[in-house]
Every structure is written in C-alpha cells, then in structure tokens.
Symmetry: C2
C-alpha cells in the first residue's frame, strides 16, 4: 500500500511541482485524488499505470485539480480499459464531465459512473466497502469543493500459530467463524476468538485540499494516521490565504494539532516559494511531525 | 529567433516525451503550434513565459494537441495578460473553445480572437504581416487538421558602411527610400539602392503534424529551411500509419526530399519507440539532413 504525490503545486506549474494529483494504492485497487493537467505524465514518470485505478475523487473543478482528467480518460480508452471507473466530485461534476467529453470528442467504451456529492460540513460516508470507507466533507473555497478521507477498517486476523496448537491447519472453513469474532468448538475444546485472533489496525488518511481554515476540518481529520493538507501560503500571507480560500502553513499545522493526527504532510505549495524549508519550519512550529510533499514523493503505509 | 520543441510525443506521454507543443520566437512576438496537456509546464521548464505569445495555432482537436489550452488560458488570465491573443484552428474551434471555457469555468478578461480555417489542399495565406506570412493547408487525418508554414519575408537592409562614405549617418529619414529599393540623390550624387542595400534572406519553417502521407504536403513545404514533420511510426508500421492518418519515418523523409527542404526534423514519436536511433536512420536513408526532435530541443534560426 502506498501513497504517491503526483503533483504538489498550484495553478502555475513549476519545473519542480506539477498541479494537484495524489495516488493511493490500497492493494487490490487504487484511487486518484484530483487530476490536474499533466497527471498522466507524472504517472508515467512514477511508473504507475491507469488500469488499477478504480475510483477518481475530484475535490473541485478548478483547473489545477481537473485539467488532466480528459487526457487520462482518453488514455484509459486507448488502453482498452476492461472495467468500469467511478468518479466522485462535487455538484455539477456530471454536467461538466459530459461537456468535457463533448469539447474534446472523448469517446468512452468502458463504463463510467459519476457520483456527485453535495458537500456539507457534516461528514458523509460516500463509500462503504467490506474493508474500507471513504468519507467526504465540504471545504471553504470559492467553488463547491470536497475533502476526502480513506478509512481502512481494522481487520481481525487468525493467529495461525495459536490455532495450529489445536491441530487446525489454515486455510480451514472453521476459521471463518473465528475471523468473525466468534468462539468455536474443535474436537471438544472451545477456542476463543480473543485468544486465537488479533486485530490488524486500520488506517486513516485524510485529504484536505483547497480550503480556508475551518475547525470542522480538524473534526473531519480526527486521529488520521496521515493528514495531507493544503498549505498554499506561508504564514506571512494569512490575509491572502483567507481571501482566496486557502490555508497557511500554520493553519495546516493547527488542523493537524487539533485533529491529533500522527503525521501531517503539507502540499499544494504556491509557485512563489522556491525554498520549502521555511514553510516546513512554520508548519512544524505548530505541529512537529510534519513533512512537506514534493512531486513523486512516495509513502508506504 | 528560436524554435523550442516543448513536446515531441503522441497521445501517451512518456517520461521523455510530452504531448505536442512547439514554440517559435520570431523576435518581437512568439507563436505556439499546438498545445497538448502539460505544455505550460514544459514552458516553465524551458523558462518561456506566456506573455510573448501572440498567436496560437491548433492543428486539430485531438487531445494530445489541445488539452493544454485550458490551462494556458487560465495562466494567461491569472498573469493579467495585457494584450489580446489570436487562436487559429480548424472548423469548430470557436465552438469547442467556448465549450472548453464553460466546462472549466474559464473567465478571460483579455481579448481573444478565434480564427477558424477551413482547410483545403490548396494552401491558404492566413496571416500577411509586413515582415512575415503564415500559411495553412489541410492534412490527411480522421478529423479536420491543418499544417502551418511560417515565412519570414526577405528584408532589404541598408549597408551602413557604404552610405557613410557619402556622409549619411543612420538613422536618417532619407534612408527609408533606399530601404524601399529606390535610388536617392544626396548632395548632387546618386546613391543606388542596389549598391547601398543588401537583402537579408527570409526563412521558411513548415509544421506538418498529424497527417498520412500526401504529395500536396511536399508542395506546401517546398524549399523550407526547416520542415518539422510528424513521424509517428517506424517504417515497419506503414499500414498502421496510413490507417490512422499518420506518417512513417520514410514518408516524412520523402516529403522532405520532394520538397527540397534544407533540414527535416521528425517529431510526434510514438511511445512505443524507446530508442530513437532506428527511426532517425530510417528517415536519413531517404533524406540525409534529418534530426529527431526531443523535448526542450532548441534551434536558433
């Protein structure tokens, strides 16, 4: 499982930072959070194919978050994508997606499903799978914009060593009951789930991009293992940040601190900052366990 | 004056080759031929600003030639572009441009003028300025597609050394007549234009991209100093090339040879070719003075 920052800049790309795009590989499938212009080339550079991506999450329809979608769709089409794709985005995503197809003549023979999420400050569970959930919440930005959260559910696993003492060899159908947390009987003996299993903890990754500071975002990111948070501006540009619906380094730090996350990664760095060290220092002054994202940065989790 | 290859690949970008985009700086202004996804980032890497670009020429509306236009327009807008831009493209360019603006909510406060060119196999002069012309011709491709040609006109210049012998110091209003090719009288003496001036030769650059082979393209590129020609495929993929409306290396070479150009630069190289040497050899076997373009390649002229 890994997280790859495909683009960590804003609207003006720089040689160092492309527009927004974050890839999360959760094992059997992968997600793409935002798809700014040039995302598919960043994927090529990172040796990431498009076929594993099952879901794309668009935070909002500002160019630096979505202008790569047309190209990615065309490439998926040319690659004869065999399976469907789900695209989540704010209001108007369906209409804009179809306009985009019309503009550039994008014919798609694979199935695509667009799910519009009307953002609210109360978090909404938008996906509930057996082993993970995705949540969305509204951000504070001039256009409808969503933050997302991936939660891998904690998983009860069999302690193979323990059950083997009873002569059960995995895989065995009876183990399913244990995995469900139920005690079993085996050759006259009771094997308790609490002894024969352990909990593999889940993981929580929050993606808060393009928003002014707001307390509800801390609540949303509560106890995340990783909080990816926009930090377009340095602390000296507080007024510009608030005005434009963005955060400063210190505000990103405050979100992380209040949310008691394990790690903060700041991204969406304005082109005006050539040296990221000052930004990192500022965020760290509020929340010490902070990293600053750079393009193609990879984090295993 | 320089030519910069911003992108030399096709629909699938590779770490080495971005989608189509060619920048031509003619001194007081600059042109962009095609604007594939990621073109503005390639410009940033090449340290090329957008403000000097006065005209954009779109060959056709396939994604790899046009998906960077929205981002470039947005960046021009955010840079408070003071002057207008002219965008030339095939049929439907106006309609698609406006759809594109609507899709991505692109507000433009600078003036833009879109000129649709209905391509014909007979070349059309689409721009006639004092010192240069631009011509367009239809190519052979599944959608309306244009090839372009830039012609810098030959210019009569004053031989400053010669006129100074007569005591005329430049700049002097009387020199205008000489520059127009007329003889003048000066202190009782006749100064002949043919002695006092010389012709600075013009230059011809042809841009033929996304087309199957066709003789009329040789006629169009006739005696170009530089012919930039698509060569999507190697000679072994002749059938695929023709079917898809593209050329092979050898066909690009044949266009150059028949057109008696000075130099051929092949570009629009399919992602399947990791090693360009074979392609270059094939083109050279037909037209020896051939180069293969690579991203950010710069040619002064």
């Amino acid at each position: 499982m890994k997280l790859v920052f495909l683009g960590t800049g804003t609207a003006f790309p720089t040689p160092e930072r492309n527009h927004s795009g974050t890839y999360i590989d959760i094992g059997p499938e992968a997600f793409l959070f935002d798809c700014g212009e040039g995302t598919q080339r960043q994927m090529a550079i990172a040796k990431i194919g498009s076929s594993k991506i099952t879901k794309i999450f668009i935070s909002h329809w500002h160019g630096d978050h979505v202008l790569g979608l047309a190209g990615l769709m065309q490439s998926m089409q040319m690659s004869n994508r065999p399976h469907e794709i789900h695209i989540y985005g704010p209001e108007e995503t369906k209409h804009r997606f179809e306009l985009m197809r019309k503009t550039f003549g994008i014919g798609l023979s694979f199935h695509y499903i667009i799910i519009e999420v009307k953002g609210t400050t109360k978090p909404q569970k938008i996906i509930d799978e057996a082993d993970y959930e995705i949540w969305a919440v509204k951000t504070i930005h001039p256009v409808p914009c969503l933050a997302f959260k991936y939660i891998k559910k904690p998983l009860r696993r069999i302690d193979i060593g323990y059950v083997s003492k009873f002569g059960i060899k995995a895989p065995h159908p009876i183990l399913k009951k244990l995995a469900d947390g139920k005690n079993i009987k085996w050759e006259g003996k009771v094997i308790k789930a609490k002894d024969a299993t352990y909990i593999k903890p889940g993981i929580k990754i929050s993606y808060v991009i393009d928003s002014a500071y707001s307390k509800h975002l801390s609540a949303f990111a509560k106890e995340s293992d990783i909080l990816i948070c926009e930090s377009t501006f340095g602390a000296d540009m507080q007024d510009a940040a608030t005005l434009k619906g963005h955060m400063t380094t210190k505000e990103a730090g405050k979100i992380a601190k209040d949310a008691q996350v394990k790690e903060l990664i700041i991204t969406h760095i304005s082109q005006r900052y050539k040296d990221p060290i000052t930004l990192l220092k500022e965020a760290k002054s509020v929340f010490p366990n902070t990293k600053i994202a750079h393009d193609l940065m990879e984090i295993k989790f």
